[in-house]
């Protein structure tokens, strides 16, 4: 049967490899190629070497976008993971020991569903919702309330100092639920007797969290960090729909993906947009590799 093995293996691999080449590798390769041209979308592209990349280096808007992606990359995972951990801990373990098993705070089953709700909404829908939440007049959810109290309305999306943070808040709201569920699953797999043993030794809620839960969740945290980091590199839908003037006011909320979209589809500069895409590709790759390397530590078997 040995001689029949190769055709068999090839038969299995041919289709997935072909699909992968067509839909993943080929678009990437094309983007690399297009980024070296001055293609505007119609006539065959003209090769211009690294001109687009040289231009990127002096493009203030590009670096501003990179900077905003950087802020997102730091803040989004930190805040989301911190909140998700807190919520997950309260839902699963926060209620203390009841008849021998650890349980969450009162109503935790309800909260679990509520936290997960935003995850069911597509990002653009979340953005449209938050347009109403942040609307700067009396019909806005927050400002309507503030104005009833006699306070000045806050321009969440039109104050250049606030806009990016308002968008980050919406993003956190949208994705925290998923990580609550992810961490809950992780916590559920931690044996209860470890908690009980620790509790018997006199550990309180805080100690339990930092000494038992956190170390045993490390692998899950690492996954969450990579996922959120990649989400921070994207953020296209939320910025494009939620921000004023597509990345405004005055470019204070723009991110790489929005600039790529603008250059490709508004300015018809596909070559330049592809160069930005390639830059984003390498940023993302570097981030993922770095994260996995830096956070690598021995996982604890239990």
């Amino acid at each position: 049967m040995q001689h029949r093995k190769y055709p068999f293996v090839f038969g299995f691999l041919a289709v997935p490899v072909a699909l992968y080449l067509t839909f993943v590798i080929s678009p990437f390769a094309q983007a690399f190629y297009i980024s070296m041209t001055s293609w505007r979308g119609f006539a065959p592209p003209k090769w211009i070497g690294f001109d687009n990349y040289r231009r990127l280096a002096d493009d203030g808007t590009f670096w501003k976008a990179v900077q905003h992606n950087g802020i997102l990359l730091l803040v989004l995972p930190l805040v989301t993971i911190a909140l998700a951990l807190l919520f997950a801990f309260l839902i699963n373990v926060g209620g203390g020991s009841r008849s021998g098993t650890m349980s969450g705070v009162w109503g935790s089953k309800f909260y679990r569903v509520v936290f997960f709700f935003p995850q069911l909404l597509a990002v653009p829908i979340v953005a449209v919702l938050f347009q109403t939440v942040y609307r700067p007049n009396s019909s806005g959810l927050i400002n309507g309330f503030l104005m009833k109290l006699g306070l000045e309305p806050v321009g969440f999306l039109i104050n250049p100092k606030l806009a990016l943070w308002a968008i980050i808040a919406a993003l956190v709201w949208q994705c925290v639920g998923f990580y609550v569920v992810l961490f809950s699953a992780g916590m559920a797999s931690i044996p209860k007797d470890i908690y009980e043993a620790a509790a018997l030794d006199g550990a309180g809620g805080v100690t339990l969290f930092f000494r038992v839960t956190l170390p045993l969740l490390w692998d899950t945290l690492q996954v969450a960090w990579v996922y959120l980091g990649i989400a921070a590199f994207d953020a296209f839908a939320i910025v494009n729909v939620l921000s004023v003037d597509n990345g405004g006011p005055d470019g204070t909320t723009t991110v790489l993906s929005v600039e790529i979209y603008r250059n490709a589809f508004a300015f018809s500069r596909y070559g330049y947009a592809s160069a930005m895409g390639v830059a984003l590709f390498f940023f993302t790759l570097t981030f993922a590799a770095l994260t996995l390397r830096v956070t690598r530590r021995e996982s604890i078997e239990f």
């Binding site: 040995q2 093995k5 190769y6 068999f8 293996v9 090839f10 299995f12 490899v17 080449l21 590798i25 080929s26 390769a29 094309q30 690399f32 190629y33 297009i34 001055s38 293609w39 505007r40 979308g41 119609f42 006539a43 065959p44 592209p45 001109d51 597509a122 990002v123 653009p124 449209v128 942040y134 609307r135 700067p136 007049n137 321009g155 969440f156 999306l157 039109i158 949208q174 994705c175 998923f178 996954v223 996922y227 959120l228 990649i230 994207d234 296209f236 839908a237 494009n240 729909v241 004023v244 003037d245 597509n246 006011p249 005055d250 470019g251 979209y261 603008r262 589809f265 508004a266 300015f267």
Partner: protein, 515 residues
């Protein structure tokens, strides 16, 4: 958001919908913790030499690496295309058939079904073509996302439409298409005898400026069909009820804004979130009325210091004052639909826009709202009556169209009196055809803009940079918001715009246009 008329030069506020298709929702991906346990080999594991399997995989990867970067494969993908330009139709040329359309050649028409819907094409223009060439089969397509659907067809050179109504928030970039030689030269169309009077050329049957509007470096490529007048809109009902009349000059205008403010109504507003260009239209028209049409010509031709001309600075100063005193700061965060609705609820007095506004608000405005147009109330080199008017809604024939002659003939039929009248009746808008709206009754808003255009006579101004140089257009939106909402001074506005214009001027990769 309702998509409305706009050409490349008069863009509609960008819709957020576009993002939905593109957003890669990575954050929703679920992690898979399970390892695949499937084996690819049916034989017992012991009999499989592991080296063979590994080298096989390596081989497969190598194949991928070798094949993919090959340019032959790449050029067969997204960027492929030919240069071949098609010739005339192959029929015999005559006064009735100036382009030599082959009478049984099929015609592929693409219409953007926005605020005008595509009924005017199916009910008016296509029947006119069919009447002239009864044997021709017309393939009608209504396409909302023009560039998504049409660009690949143009790029690949297959299934190229013969006539495209290039409009909507996803229109094809005119400048890029001209630079890449995708558009048929319309000189033949403008020089052809008109449908109604063979003694008259088509170019003499349209409003002056129409050919120029669709020209790039003085070569005509686009037919802009709809006549559009810009100004400040108000409700005739609200104003006559309060005894407010059209202010005669700038001081009277400011005084009236004061009165309106005292009456508890927001005097002036535009939507900063997506329609800042409605406002820069106002500022630039103001500048042109102070300093003459030359002011805008200098800006369009990227002349040195064009944005620092006195007229521009004065206009920016005047509107910055309006912004500081009479504008609701919250409007920067609102979309045009929100602000237009506020006006319909009589919470806002003046709103800058083009005369598509009335049709756009048909469903939302009270029946007796009575839209009225006020030309920017300022005079200098031009009188207070001067307005910005332009031709909008672009129609083009691709250079690679199979039935190019048919495409040109379709445009000629659109420019006939019957075509213009039918359009006016169905859509409620003027076309560029002189006298094309005779016998058509328009609603009050379009009537008032038609009268304003008539009163302006030769004092009609227009600018082109917004379609020619998207970078400057984008900067102008941003700078206008910064100016009107008080973040930047008029000097900073001019400085900033000049910097961008200079950058574009010095950028060799950007095709330049002169008017």
């Amino acid at each position: 958001m309702r998509m409305h008329i706009r050409s490349g030069r008069v863009p509609e506020p960008r819709s957020g919908n576009a993002s939905q298709n593109l957003s890669a929702q990575i954050s929703t991906a679920r992690p898979s913790t399970e390892e695949p346990k499937m084996s690819i080999d049916p034989e017992p594991a012991s009999s499989v030499p592991t080296v063979a399997r590994r080298s096989l995989l390596r081989g497969a990867a190598a194949v991928g690496l070798v094949v993919v970067p090959g340019t032959s494969l790449l050029s067969a993908c997204a960027t492929s295309g030919g240069d071949s330009e098609t010739d005339g139709g192959g029929g015999t040329k005559s006064d009735k058939n100036p382009f030599g359309v082959k009478e049984d050649a099929a015609l592929d028409v693409v219409i953007f079904p926005g605020g005008y819907t595509d009924k005017y094409a199916t009910d008016v223009h296509e029947p006119l073509y069919k009447k002239a060439f009864p044997k021709a089969a017309i393939k009608h397509e209504a396409v909302t996302e023009i560039s998504t659907v049409v660009q690949p067809r143009l790029a690949s050179g297959t299934n190229v439409p013969d006539m495209i109504n290039n409009s909507g928030s996803k229109l094809l970039d005119f400048g890029a298409m001209v630079a890449d030689k995708q558009l048929a030269d319309l000189t033949d169309l403008w020089d052809a005898p008109s449908v109604d009077d063979p003694g008259k050329k088509v170019r003499d049957t349209v409003v002056p400026g129409t050919v120029e509007r669709g020209s790039f470096n003085r070569k005509p490529y686009v037919l802009y069909y709809v006549s559009t007048v810009f100004g400040l809109w108000y409700s005739g009902k609200l104003f006559s009820g309060r005894g407010w009349t059209q202010p005669a000059d700038w001081d009277a205008f400011l005084k009236q804004l004061d009165d309106i403010k005292k009456a508890g109504i927001t005097p002036y507003g535009y939507a900063g979130a997506n329609a800042a260009y409605y406002q820069y239209t106002v500022i630039l028209t103001h500048a042109a009325k102070l300093g003459g049409q030359e002011v805008l010509k200098n800006i369009d031709n990227l002349e040195d210091g064009a944005w620092k001309q006195d007229a521009v600075k004065q206009a920016a100063t005047a509107w910055a004052e309006v912004g500081a005193k009479y504008l609701d700061k919250a409007y920067e965060g609102l979309k045009h639909t929100d602000v237009q609705l506020q006006q319909n609820q009589y919470k806002l007095a003046y709103y800058p826009s083009g005369d598509w506004l009335e049709n756009e608000q048909k469903k939302d405005a009270p029946a007796d709202f009575t839209y009225q147009l006020l030309p920017i109330p300022v005079k200098g080199k031009l009188s207070t009556k001067a307005v910005r008017a332009t031709a909008a809604e672009g129609y083009l024939v691709p250079a690679k169209a199979k039935n190019k002659a048919g495409g040109l003939e379709y445009l000629r039929q659109m420019l006939s009196r019957a075509g213009a009248k039918g359009f006016g009746e169905l859509v409620g808008s003027n076309t560029v055809v002189v006298g094309g709206a005779e016998g058509v009754t328009f609603p009050p808003g379009v009537t008032s803009s038609t009268n304003a255009l008539k009163a302006a006579g030769k004092e009609v101004v227009d600018f082109f940079f917004d379609g020619d140089y998207k970078d400057i257009e984008q900067e102008c939106r941003t700078a206008t918001n910064a100016l009107m909402f008080g973040r930047e001074t008029p000097d900073q506005f001019c400085e900033r715009m000049q910097k961008k214009a200079d950058a574009v001027k010095n950028d060799k990769s950007i095709t330049k246009f002169t008017r």
